[in-house]
Each structure stands twice: as C-alpha cells, then as structure tokens.
C-alpha cells in the first residue's frame, strides 16, 4: 500500500472512530428532540457523570473491592454508567421536563437545563476536583496493527458498542409496542393520546433512554478523553452541530452526520490544521442549513394552512 493511501485510510479510520464517539453523544439529544421537540442542554454533563460512574466502578468497585479482572470490571462499568445516566434522566425529567412540558415552550426547558448543567458541572467539581483522572480501560493502550494501519482495542469496542446501541434502539423503535408508541408521540401527540398511550410515561421513558445512552457514552469516552468535570462540555457544541446536520430528531441522519463530522475532523487535522476544526465544522453546518435546511435526511413536514 502506498504511503498516501495508508494515510488516507488511517485518517478515515481515526475519523470513523471519532464519529462513533460523537454519535453516541448525539443520539440521546436527537431522541429527545424527536419525541418532545426539546433540547437537553445538560446532556453533555450526563456524559461526564457516566464517565465518572464508570471510572469509579471500574477502578474501585469491581476491581479493588470485588476482585474482578480489569477487563470484566471495565465492561461491567459500562452498565453502571448506563444506570447512572438513566437515574439522572429520571431526576431531570421529574424536576424540569415534566413540570415545563405542558407550557409548549421551547425556551424555558432549554434555560432550565442550562441551570442543571451549571449545577452538575460544579457539583462534580466539588466532588472530584479539576485535576484530570487517569481512566485506563485495559483496551485503550492495546494497539491492533495491520501493516501501517493501527487502531486501539478501545476504538473497536467503541464502534461495536455504538453499533449495538444503534441496533438496539432501532429495533426497539421498530418492533416493540413502546417504540411504536414513541414514534407515534413524536409524530402527533394528540393522536397518540387517542391511542390510549400515556404520554407522560412515554416522555419519561424517552428521557431515561436518552440519558442512559449519554451515560454509556461517558463510559466509553472516559478512557480516551481528558476526564474532568468539564469533559462533556467539550463535545456538546459539536453534538448540537451533528444533530442539526443530520436533521433534528432524525436518527439515521444523526448517525451519518456524526461519522461524517468525525471524518471531516480527521482530514481537517491532516490538511488544514487542528486549530480550525470548529471553524470547518460550523461553516459546514451553516452551509448545510442554507442548501438543505431540514438536514441530511429530510423529513417533510408540510405546514398545514
């Protein structure tokens, strides 16, 4: 393989892996948006909480106290993060989204979740401090090599878990009654109400699923990012961009956009410089909004006059 091809391939792999991380964060955002037209600004902090939950269960609870191997401990910690995210989602739904839901307002929940975000970030700062935690998953430092191409075991794990999560979410939405009900609510609240579906329950469920996804993303990001209480904040703005590029509330769009942004980022680093990543991503975002305002995969919603 020529050096050039190897480089292109390597950066593409880097990009896809990065994209999968973004997808894991963005999926929850898009799910909440799709069902209830709300933005959860604290979503990124759920990711951070998930990362810390995973960190403490992987490096303390499962390994030091329960004597499991590092590998098992880490894999189990993913579920702990998932649970932590879900719990947090339950709380935030009860505290913010449920009370504000009936006012059919897109701004107040946004501001309220900004408040939640400030609260969570600083509570974690008090609890864990600002010095980065060293979260070593046993997979992060093992490198798989094919000739010049390399990637870490962790990145394989990330891609597999991302695929499983997407697959799971997809089949849940397609094949289960609750999933179908969720889609019904996202399309038309009143009709869903007529079908005898408890809307409150469905919305709580959506937030819990989305938050659990965020927690899980935290467990996977933890060993590869700089784990501080501010870790999530570093990806949230990009996650917003991805959700928009993919079309708000559109799962397929989010997945494609996430991976696309990951790849663009890798090639921006290669050819333009890492200092302009955000510039490139957001110029792309505005460009997308000009040429295709409804996102990569458009869902037509005709305004009924």
């Amino acid at each position: 393989m020529s050096d050039f091809l190897a480089l292109i391939l390597q950066q593409s792999i880097n990009g896809i892996y990065l994209g999968c991380l973004y997808v894991l964060v963005a999926l929850g955002l898009t799910l909440i948006y799709g069902v209830m037209n709300q933005i959860n600004f604290a979503h990124a902090d759920f990711v951070t909480v998930g990362a810390f939950a995973a960190f403490f269960s992987a490096t303390r609870l499962f390994t030091k106290w329960m004597g499991m191997s590092d590998g098992t401990g880490y894999v189990l910690s993913i579920f702990m993060a998932l649970a932590a995210g879900a719990l947090l989602g339950l709380l935030v739904n009860a505290a913010v989204f449920a009370p504000l839901r009936n006012r059919s307002d897109e701004l107040r929940p946004l501001i309220a979740t900004i408040g939640v975000s400030v609260l969570l970030e600083n509570a974690q700062l008090i609890l864990f401090g600002p010095i980065p935690f060293q979260f070593d998953s046993p997979f992060a430092q093992n490198t798989i090599r094919f000739g010049k191409i390399f990637f870490s075991e962790q990145s394989v794990l990330v891609v597999i878990v991302a695929a499983l999560a997407i697959g799971g979410l997809y089949s849940f939405m397609k094949f289960t009654f609750l999933g179908k009900a969720l889609r019904a609510v996202s399309q038309d609240r009143e009709t869903a109400g007529l079908m005898g579906i408890n809307e409150n329950f469905l919305i709580a469920l959506t937030i819990v699923i989305a938050s659990a996804l965020a927690g899980m993303a935290g467990a996977l990001l933890g060993p590869v990012i700089v784990l501080t209480p501010f870790a999530g904040a570093s990806v949230i703005v990009k996650a917003f961009a991805i959700v928009i590029i993919g079309g708000f509330g559109n799962m397929e769009g989010t997945i494609i956009a996430g991976i696309l942004v990951g790849i663009i980022e890798a090639f921006t680093v290669q050819y333009l410089g890492s200092g302009v990543i955000d510039l490139v991503v957001f110029v792309l975002l505005l460009f997308m909004l000009v040429v295709k305002p409804t996102g990569l995969i458009a869902e037509r919603r005709e305004e009924n006059v």
């Binding site: 050096d3 880097n14 600002p130 980065p132 430092q141 590869v224 410089g273």
Partner: protein, 386 residues
Amino acid sequence: MIGFSALKSGALAAAVGLAALSAPAIAQNVIRVGVLVPISGPASYFGVQGKEGVALALEQINRGNGINGIKLDVQFEDSACSPLQATNTVKRVLEQFKPHIVVGEECSDASLAIAPILEQAKVPMLNAGSAANQLTESGYKYVFRIFPNAAQQGVPLGRNAYTKLGARTAVLLHVKTNAGVDNADGFAKEFEAAGGKILARIDFAQDVNDFTPIATRIAALGKVDVLPTFALEGQQVRLSQALAQARVVKGGGGTGIQMGSIWLPWGFEAKAGQASQGYIRIVQFDPTEKRKMVTDFIDAFRAKYGADKTPTHINAHAYDTMLLIAEAVRRGARDSESIRDRFSKMRDVEVTTGKITFDAKGQNSDMSVIHFVETQADLSWKGLNW
C-alpha cells in the same frame, strides 16, 4: 505595544482611589495577602492546587509567633482565569481586604489584565504561574514573577534540542493559549536560529480530546527529531499516548523525542505510562531533589494532604510565593512599598523550586529553577545537568 506612560495616564485611572485605601497607616502585626486564583471552570486545575500550597505555607508561617510577631492573613478570590472577572475581583480584594500584596493569577490573560490595576494601586503583584513575556516586559514597577517566562523556558529548550540532542527537525505542538503560543514561539526562534527546521506547527484548542489524527499526521511527515509540546497534563497524557501509538516517539518504538517546559506535574509519567519514555522536559520543582527545603516541604505536604500525595510544581509555586512574602517581612517589610523594596533587593533566596533573584523588571533571573530531566524506561526521572 502601548507605552507605559499612556497606561499610567489614562487606562486605569479607575483605580485612582485604591492607593489611599490600600496603604493603612496604623501600626500592625498582620500582612494581608490577596490571592487571586481560578476556582471555577476548567482553569480551577491551577486554583485548587494553588490553594493547597498557600494554605500549607500559611499554616507553617503563622505557627507560634509568626514572623517576629507578624502573621500573614490570606484571602482567596475566584478570578476564573478571565480578564473581566480578574479585574473585577482585584478591585474587590483591593477595597474590601486592603491587601499589602496580591498573589496571582495563573493564566496569562488574567495576569496581564490585573497588572496595570495593581501598578496603579501601588500594590505589589507576585506571579507564579503565567509565562507570557509581556507581563514583566511592560515596565511595571510592582510586578514580580518567580515563574520562568516563556523566553526563559523556550530558549534553553530550543538550544539544547539542537546542541545536546543533535536535533535538526522539529514538530511544534501547542495548545492555543497565550502561554502555549509564547512557549512555541520561544522554541522556534532559538531552534531555527541555530539551524534547525520546524516541519510543522500544530496547535489545538483546549477542548480537543482525541489526538490520533494529529499523531497520524506527524507520523506521515517522515523523520522528526524532537516534538516540543506545550499543553496541560490532561491533554498531554492523551497526546503522548497517541504519539506512541503512531510510533512517532521513543515510548512507542519511534525515534522522536518529546520535549516540554513547565506544564506537567510530577506524576505525569505514571499517567501516560510507557508513552512518556524518553520525554525530556524542564521541571521547576523536582520532588526527588534532596535539598532540605524540598524534603521538608514534601513531608509537610503529605502530612496535611495525605501520604499518597506528592506536591506538584503548582503546589510548590504557591508555597514559594508565601515563603518569599514571609522572607520580605523577615527583612523588615511592613507595607506594600517596603515589600516591593525588599523583593527588588532579593538575591539568591532559596525556595522549593530553586533560588530567586529578581531582576530590574521583576522577573526571577536565576536559571537554577530550570532543571532538565529525561523520563527513563521505568518512568523515573534522570537529571540531565544541561
């Protein structure tokens, strides 16, 4: 560049009333020290460690009779590493606490913003964490810095890379902040003047987490001798690991040598693992040093904060600032003016990070605070005596 005279006449005449406020006439046995550190936001990384160092020093200095009957009184304020917040906070401290001296800030942006206010108020500023050259190059009379500025770090780094390591090619890696840019410039200037070649200059934002694409790019550049890296601990761990994974640096089986200045704390190697092998960097505080001052400091630190902890250079810097103030008081300083006077006459004052001699600009000119170390295969440090 704005001349000092212009600053003096106009910019911050705002602080005019402060001089009067901050020069209490009553005989006293307390020296008030305002400490401005970032306690909120990501920069609290510095603030939290700074507070630890100050608190420890304070405990020791104020024990018993203090310094000949005089005690230090410290007030912390959160200046958030931001110029706006820092200017607001410094005014607040000046009028509510009336300090004789202010210690801070960690971030260059904020330090540069408060320096003219303190100059105007005639309250000395003792800085221990900002590298921007400009801070002591602006003609301020009340600004002192024990931290080596970017030039002091970058120049020996660039020179030694060329002469001692025989490096001819370099890739600069730095975080896009005031200090990162200054450090990288300092290295580049010296290295290129000596005849070296900068193959690429790669800067990145403070919120970049994944360095694999950057490492891939460097790997594709061909043979790189040195990689001067200027970023904080969190990012550097990931960066070194990515470079090792891409087989750029020695730690990953490559030939490149990462070099760095005073950004990384003791304990970096343990976090980065094998990837940090061969890393050559300047440390200002070396906890393995056998000087009594250092061992005493470490013992006291562990007694206060836990036996498993080793102080970082940030802890040490903060601790040293208090030692210096205590030293000034010991030499008879009783107010802002006399503290400034004693500071400007200090020669070879020993602190945990080395020796301090302030030059006419207020910058510590004693290069003994700069030690080069190389990370060994077992992750220990080897002093290089450069």
